[in-house]
Subunit: 417 residues, 2 copies
């Protein structure tokens, strides 16, 4: 493999990232549509680990997921079920899914079905649980959390599903492109995208009143309180985009990042499904009142699939309002964003930043460039607290250098470059 061939492969990866056409085509219970998600399986974020290595909030989340799904009567029975293999664990990414924080999927949960119409592959994501800091994906489970999940299964999923099917499919790329002109970067800020999605649903909701009655108003009320609702659509769009660009022989472009309770890992377009693991990310955080850095716990996370396709931290200069949520200043956000052009293979053809004169976002991280420059991908992220307190803040993460060095070494070994 020559340097020129690597460049060609990377250009092809970028072409596929840019050509992607993610369209929301359906909402269904995960068990009906997610490949390989059996009723007795719980999915979670991160490169897969043996059961015994899941600890703290992520271990709890898996147990809570099993209890919520009725796979175990209580937490002890769930733990025993995982231990014996009666309840199976899957890694979200291996099933076309991406998990937000702990990223728990069970068969009954509704998921967005996003089809990448340019390449025919699908990406999935389950639903935002609402504005409470206490959510299953942040490692919390109680009556409030269970009721919220039931609402998604019984009201939000069916109503939105009918609206989406009636629409004939909702193209997500134009929505994301537009949201970038309205203060979103579609990872940690999704306010405009959520409004645009609500607008696309609205005419269908009027039609659905006769079938769903009060459930339409309940769903609408939920959507109107949920400024982060669109994140799960952004994630599913990004997953289907990144998967559509994965597998180009000779590509050194990163196609996924993932976090579990133990490590941060990346995947590379030309290196198959191997995860290149490193230590946890460095975090620069803004915490809610009453919490300190010591309260932060890594319990998983895959929402940075958005950064993988040129959104999130790679579009910070489109989203100055983020400073109120995750800290930082406009100056630092601009600097962060500009630095990403040094480690990417090109610019996005659809996702553009008004402040940069509509320059396309930096897209397609080349693991060689990261390893050479030491410039680390910047990621916008929500942060979970220890001991089941839920979300305790937000901030920016830096992917660890070791992952990129390991990926580069593997690339050299495989391709002899």
């Amino acid at each position: 493999m020559s340097e020129a061939r690597r460049r060609e492969a990377n250009a092809e990866t970028l072409r596929r990232l840019n050509a992607a056409d993610p369209v929301l085509v359906d909402v269904r219970p995960a068990g009906e549509v997610v490949p390989g998600l059996e009723p007795g399986t719980v999915l979670t974020s991160g490169a897969p680990l043996p059961w015994r290595e899941y600890r703290g909030g992520q271990r709890n989340s898996l147990i809570y997921g099993a209890v919520y799904e009725g796979l175990a009567a209580d937490e002890a029975e769930a733990a025993a079920g995982f231990e014996s293999g009666r309840i199976r664990i899957g890694a979200c990414h291996d099933h076309g899914c991406v998990g937000s924080v702990a990223g728990i999927y069970t068969a009954s949960m509704p998921v967005f079905v996003v089809e990448n119409r340019a390449f025919g592959n699908r990406g999935f994501c389950n639903f935002y649980e609402g504005e409470s800091r206490r959510r299953l994906n942040y490692g919390v489970y109680d009556d409030e959390v269970r009721d919220a999940l039931d609402f998604l299964r019984d009201v939000a999923g069916p109503v939105i599903g009918d609206a989406v099917r009636a629409s004939g499919g909702i193209a997500l790329k134009p929505m994301i492109s537009r949201a970038l002109h309205m203060g979103d970067e579609c990872h940690s800020r999704n306010t405009a995208a959520t409004l645009l999605f609500g607008r696309a649903l609205a005419p269908h909701l009027l039609d659905l009143q006769s079938r769903h009655g009060e459930r339409v108003k309940e769903m609408l009320a939920f959507l109107q309180q949920s400024d982060y609702f669109f994140l799960r659509l952004s994630m599913a769009a990004a997953k289907s985009t990144a998967d559509g660009a994965h597998g180009v022989e000779g590509s050194s472009v990163m196609t996924a990042m993932t976090i579990n309770c133990n490590d941060f890992s990346i995947r590379v377009g030309g290196l198959g499904d191997e995860w290149f693991r490193g230590p946890p990310a460095q975090a620069d955080v803004k915490l809610f009142e009453g919490f300190t850095d010591d309260d932060v716990e890594w319990i998983g996370g895959e929402s940075h699939i958005t950064e993988t396709v040129g959104l999130g931290g790679f579009a910070q200069a489109a989203a100055f309002p983020l400073q109120a949520y995750q800290g930082g200043s406009p100056e630092v956000m601009i600097e962060n964003n500009l630095a990403m052009y040094d480690i990417t293979v090109g610019e996005n053809s659809d996702y553009r930043i008004p402040y940069f004169g509509y320059r396309g976002t930096p897209t397609g991280v080349d693991v060689f460039r990261v390893a050479e420059t030491g410039t680390l991908p910047v990621i916008d992220a929500g942060l979970a607290g220890r001991n089941g307190v839920g979300q305790i803040g937000a901030g920016t993460l830096r992917a660890p250098l070791l992952c990129f060095q390991a990926a580069r070494d593997a690339y050299r070994e495989r391709y002899g470059l």
Copy 2:
């Protein structure tokens, strides 16, 4: 009047601008709610002129308004009616209204009724006509324009009116504040604000289906195609805000700007209802394909009531996407916006700019500072073309220095300072 007393009066004007609480409380035919708008009256933008001095597109617009309202059978009869005084002309500002471009109001047109709950006064604005470049407010009248106006009267007005009344009132300040964090400056860009307004209406629209049937979907379809819909709400909110701050003895803060076919004029808080007139604004324009600077015609305009209260050009750095519509660059928009702090008496307490670290927008133009520094208020604006071609572009205007010098001289004469 001492310099200290003038500063106090200006501070009180700013306090009132900031304390304003504009709430959309109703939608009604103008003839039912606008003070002094008799069935035989047509309102138009600008400081009032004798009939014979209205020329070009503004003259035509008055005639078209009279024909639309059925005050005359045809254009010749309308012109004769104005000439004889049978059809009367009013200046929008004198009736609590503000006009977009030509700003034609007739009695049957629906208007937003916005109440400034902090001071009890009301502001009105009629409706956005839609995305066509051919609109009555841009000096055009044909079957398409008439149908659009009929739609507003028969569908949009009644449906939105019922929704607003059911809501108990929709507070506009929080909506405008939020839109400034989403790429709007609420004069030439209203995309986010329109979405936020649509979101506020949505639950009520579900309830109105049984009463209004298909009209609800028709109204929704119109709203979804109209990214500028909110402008008229922004204008009514700004008018009620500015009027609530007008009339402070000793204030040298500008409380209105207006344009007619002949001149640009301003009003000042401590100088009663007198208009201080100057030549037309300087314009820096971006025109639609096929038009040149020579095609621009002044046919009226009062939407810069938004700049008067700290929006529009005074919030350009909140709305970098505007560069695509009206030209300029982010750098120039930042520079323009920062310059406005030099001629204003303070900062807005609610309207804030993320790029400036959430600094309040420059608010309350002091005519003394403009006259002394020569820094002219910057205004975002749509531009009309000659010969009834409709909108031909957009750009930034600069209010003429002469108005501010004339106002300062009048202030000195009245207050001896």
